[in-house]
């Protein structure tokens, strides 16, 4: 398999307004193969969002390089789409117009695009809400609109920052299954960020565990559960063993990051 996405010794630090330097990521190295589903888990504040913004091209690394198809990333591109952690919807646009935003700025707006966008909205359970405005939606509905907006541009690489965080448990499970279906049907490459270990394992081919800030790769584990995976795979012993392994790896990190010793 070829690497679609490669991170080579990527470090990122920010200078705050007070002049302090915050190191968010340190020497992060891993790759994502074409068509692979990779999740990143780690404690809050360990640099997961920063990692995605680097891959999307919104930020440049302070050190190291991020390669897409072997070429350094120079900025945002049509081949990638980011699902933001905070649903950054445009309040003056309807749900449908929000979903069409990416196609519109890329000059790809047509009848076919509109039809596909309508279908996407039904997929995320927002059929009938095309003309609603974001302020008329619940948090979970906004988050699903946010997801549909990224899917609408049909990117090769889907970057997802805790996209299901504000969904209830049932909707979340349905969306996970649907995401796997899309990924499988369209052979997309997915880099997925989540707080939930079981979500990471259920969805992924590999899980990257980041240490607490500055985030470094603590572990990369392959999830060798057969696909397609049904939801009840979550209750098998093999699944439980994987969850345990990831949890052990990040438990200390999480405890330290919230100041509760073991």
């Amino acid at each position: 398999m070829t690497a679609k996405l490669e991170l080579r010794g990527v470090s990122k630090w920010f200078e705050t307004r007070s002049g302090d330097v915050v190191e968010a990521l340190r020497g992060v190295t891993f790759d994502v193969h074409a068509g692979e589903f990779v999740s990143v888990v780690g404690a809050s504040g360990c640099g997961k969002t920063t990692l995605l913004r680097l891959v999307d091209g919104l930020l440049a690394p302070s050190r190291g390089e991020v390669l897409l198809d072997g070429r350094p990333i120079a900025g945002p591109g049509l081949d990638r789409a980011l699902v933001f952690q905070l649903d950054a919807l445009f309040p003056w646009r309807t749900v449908l117009d929000n979903v069409l935003f990416g196609l519109e700025v890329q000059g790809r707006l047509g009848e076919e695009a509109r039809r596909a966008a309508g279908e996407l909205l039904r997929f995320v359970g927002l059929g009938g809400f095309e003309r609603a405005y974001p302020h008329e939606l619940s948090g979970g509905m906004r988050q699903r609109t946010n997801l549909a907006r990224a899917l609408a541009v049909d990117p090769e690489v889907l970057l997802m920052d805790e996209p299901f965080a504000s969904l209830d448990a049932q909707t979340r499970e349905i969306m996970q299954a649907e995401l796997l279906r899309i990924w499988n049907a369209r052979r997309k490459t997915v880099l997925f960020i989540t707080h939930q270990i079981d979500e990471a394992i259920y969805l992924s081919d590999r899980v990257v565990v980041l240490t607490r800030r500055p985030g470094q790769v603590g572990d990369v584990l392959a999830v060798d559960l057969p696909r397609p995976r049904r939801l009840d795979v979550k209750r098998t012993p093999a699944f439980g063993a994987l969850v345990d392994r990831v949890w052990k790896r990040i438990e200390t990190e999480v405890r330290e990051s919230v100041g509760v010793p073991a």
Binding site: D56, L58, P76, G77, L78, A81, L82, F84, L86, A88, F90, P91, W92, F101, G102, E104, V105, Q106, A116, E119, L120, R122, F123, V124, G125, G127, G128, F129, Y133, P134, H135, V153, Q170, T171, I174, M175, E178, I182, A185, R186
Partner: protein, 279 residues
């Protein structure tokens, strides 16, 4: 792509009972109260004018004001005053709106321009610009140009500053989202910054409009041959209280109507800022 719908699980599409229809008085409560208040004050005005302050040099009942306005209309004078002031205002405020929005937007996106203009904007905004009216009369003579200049100068700053702060206040998450989809700087400006700032710009227009109306009167106080400000000044000098109040009322009405229209526009442009709250 075929996608399975999750509508069923989410309960979308279930029939809802129609919301209870609120009664006429309930729906228009605020308006009815405002109207009632106006009626009471106008009635008091009439009564005080008739029975309390009977000296016509100080005060006149509302009915005399209407009668005077009718007289002026019949003689064709009122139309002339209104037309003159309206033209001055339209030109001055129109220019202020165009220049204010253009300059404010340019200052928001071009750091250097902003640095150069900032001290002058601060300086001129803080100056009571109506004090410059006599100077403008000297410069532009008594024609319409001097009035347009005064109105332009007094009304441009709230428009400019609101445009500037509105565009600068654009949520950076929205800008980043647009960038992520590959939007170019011009697209970010047109599709994100401008729509996000629009309600704030309209507020600026409303503030500028109120100042512009003051500008009309002040500009006409110094050398004018017609206009509502001229009517007010002239009536005061001839102790014609009824005509004076007629001029004032027309200006007030113009102010209220246009500012309410802009308020309505603000609500239409940014419904998410006016989510209904129970009071």
């Amino acid at each position: 792509m075929t996608v399975r719908s999750v509508e069923v699980e989410l309960g979308v599409g279930a029939a809802l009972p129609r919301a209870r229809r609120r009664g006429f008085f309930e729906r228009h409560q605020s308006r009815i109260r405002a109207l009632g208040s106006i009626v009471v004050v106008f009635a008091l005005w009439e009564l005080i004018g008739r029975f309390v302050i009977t000296n016509r040099l100080f005060f006149v009942p509302l009915s005399s004001v209407f009668a005077s306005a009718g007289d002026l209309w019949a003689r064709g004078e009122l139309q002339l005053h209104v037309r003159t002031s309206f033209l001055e205002f339209a030109l001055g405020f129109g220019a202020a709106a165009l220049a204010g929005i253009a300059l404010g937007a340019a200052m928001a996106v071009r750091r250097a321009l902003r640095d150069y203009l900032d001290p002058w904007v601060a300086f001129l905004y803080a100056t009571p610009t109506v004090a410059l009216a006599p100077l403008f009369i000297l410069w532009f003579k008594l024609g319409i140009e001097s009035k347009v200049a005064v109105i332009l100068l007094v009304s441009i700053f709230p428009i400019l500053l609101n445009t500037l702060t509105g565009i600068e206040g654009t949520d950076r998450h929205l800008i980043e989202a647009a960038r992520s989809f590959g939007a170019r700087p011009m697209q970010i400006f047109a599709k994100v910054m401008l729509p996000s700032a629009l309600p704030v710009i309209v507020t600026g227009l409303r503030l500028g409009l109120a100042r512009g109306l003051v500008g009309v009167v002040v500009a006409e106080l110094f050398g004018a041959k017609a206009g509502l400000g001229y009517l007010i000044l002239y009536s005061a000098q001839t102790f014609d209280m009824a005509a004076l109040f007629a001029g004032v009322l027309i200006l007030a009405l113009a102010g209220v109507v246009s500012s309410e229209a802009l308020k309505a526009l603000e609500r239409r442009l940014a419904p998410w800022r006016f989510v209904e709250v129970e009071r």
